[in-house]
Subunit: 304 residues, 2 copies
């Protein structure tokens, strides 16, 4: 079984208080797919790139077990490009430039071989595209996870709600949960969002960890305090990748499995931020992941 990832594969310019990175590899789909294959060995990705995207990056993805035949290449156009600047408080960033380029024409067609994947991870994209992908699955995947952001709530709330109604797990941040539900309290927001469809709501809080609401239970997941966060770009996508990979690996969608998936996701995110772009992911090995999972256990255990 493969994790099916839908998301951007792109270039980023990034500026943080710790440095700059120009025209580095980015995109939600890239981070999700890379991250998930550390937990589950095989992923398929649906995306679109221009002729400018380095072929050796695709080869590196293939070497990790990511099938990239679902990435459409438009040779005479440019890849999606995003430039952003992070402030002292790494939780906030400004978008400097967004060049849609090939993304403007993205109309995903799922390869036959992807259509019965059992874990579908819909990265942040227009809700129309997220729906088009769900519509192309032969049978309803065991697990559908959807990531989105406030922008789609502002410009396409109805379509977004339709997409959300069809998924098992929704991942958004606290302000987005409030905007989507119209409830200030996250407990009440979760209740309202469950009624929209998703069995599980994961609220991503960056350096403050994450909250899981589902089955009338709550799980409070820690973030690992990091001495030097170099670049937060992709952290949320690595989180989603680790979660997807774990759910594919475990084959379950229980509250317990989602909790563990969140810890896998947090582990991947905690590594991601230590270097620019895919820098840290490209150095990771299984032992490092095991060690950090144990660290998450250590920093949260207590006796009463």
């Amino acid at each position: 079984m493969s994790v099916l990832v839908v998301g951007t594969v792109a270039f980023d310019d990034i500026e943080t208080p710790f440095g700059r990175a120009e025209r580095v590899i980015g995109g939600a789909g890239t981070y999700i797919a890379w991250s998930s294959t550390f937990i589950h060995p095989s992923a398929n990705i649906v995306s679109i790139i221009g002729g400018d995207f380095p072929k050796e990056e695709l080869a590196m993805m293939n070497a990790r077990g990511i099938d990239t035949t679902g990435i459409e290449i438009v040779e005479d156009k440019k890849s999606f490009f995003w430039a952003g600047k992070y402030h002292d408080n790494m939780n906030k960033r400004d978008t400097i430039t967004t060049e849609l380029n090939v993304l403007a024409d993205f109309d995903p067609v799922l390869p036959e071989a992807y259509q019965d994947d059992e874990v579908l991870m819909l990265g942040n994209l227009t809700p129309e595209i997220q729906i088009k992908v769900m519509d192309q699955m032969k049978k309803r995947p065991k697990v559908i996870i959807l990531d989105t952001m406030n922008f789609w709530m502002d410009v396409a709330m109805d379509t977004l709600k339709e997409a959300i109604s069809r998924v098992d797990i929704l991942t958004i941040n606290d302000e987005e949960a409030r905007q989507l539900s119209g409830e200030y309290s996250l407990v009440n927001a979760a209740e309202a969002i469950h009624k929209m469809g998703p069995k599980y709501l994961i609220i991503k809080k960056g350096e403050h960890g994450a909250l899981l609401f589902g089955e009338d239970k709550i799980f409070v997941a820690p973030a690992l305090p990091i001495a030097q966060v170099k670049d937060p770009t992709g952290a949320g996508d690595c989180f989603a990748g680790g979660l997807s990979g774990y759910l594919a690996e475990s084959g379950e969608l229980s509250f317990e499995a989602v909790k563990t998936g969140i810890i896998y996701g947090s582990t991947m995110a905690s590594y991601c931020v230590e270097e620019f772009s895919l820098g840290k992911l490209k150095q990771l090995d299984e032992m490092m992941i095991k060690e950090r999972l144990q660290t998450f256990k250590d920093i949260t255990s207590f006796s009463i």
Copy 2:
């Protein structure tokens, strides 16, 4: 052994999105002392009040095991008064009024019977007063905890640093840790603050929980998501009270003990915010505390 609490005993006017409370009982010392006696049965308190403070409130404190002979009563003056307004985001508040009243003359004299207490909890006050209290202890208490805020960093940094150099545990929020240390990363801030004296640094993050740094280890404590936070006033003080009470009860100052103390503190804080003023604390019993401690265990446990 009693917990010795130093802090304000006062009146508050509070406005939150959920209502108003006028001239209700407040003050860091009040919340700390109340909270600690749910965990450890006896507390002494040093404070100052005016003739306007209700005698029945002192009687209620006595009934809980709080010795109030250390509260100086200035009959012809008024008690300290604070009025504040919370915004939609309950993490932020504006001070509307501060009337020091009796607090302007506060020069604490410790009753003889308090001078060998083994847990000293210094609530947020001028660092001069915090130092004066430490100077009056017959022998160095086993545990000294100090709470402070950015205001004292702005106006009395040197005296504050002197006070901090003499304590075991410092409790501040993340922005205060950054201001005190000059380090943005909390991991680096903790390292700098350890060098100033405290063995343990607790960073209070309100609805995002707390972090403990000490002995080269980190503990990430959760906050309990609450459906309706009515009034956050006193939450940090109830946290400090639960922590102090637990450390007095356990008689230890190990990393493990401080971790458990933080969970006791978080438990008390989670109840505190459910009603205005001391409303919820006055309804609490041992079983409710046990139940919530178990809830904290449940919302943080996971398998890897």
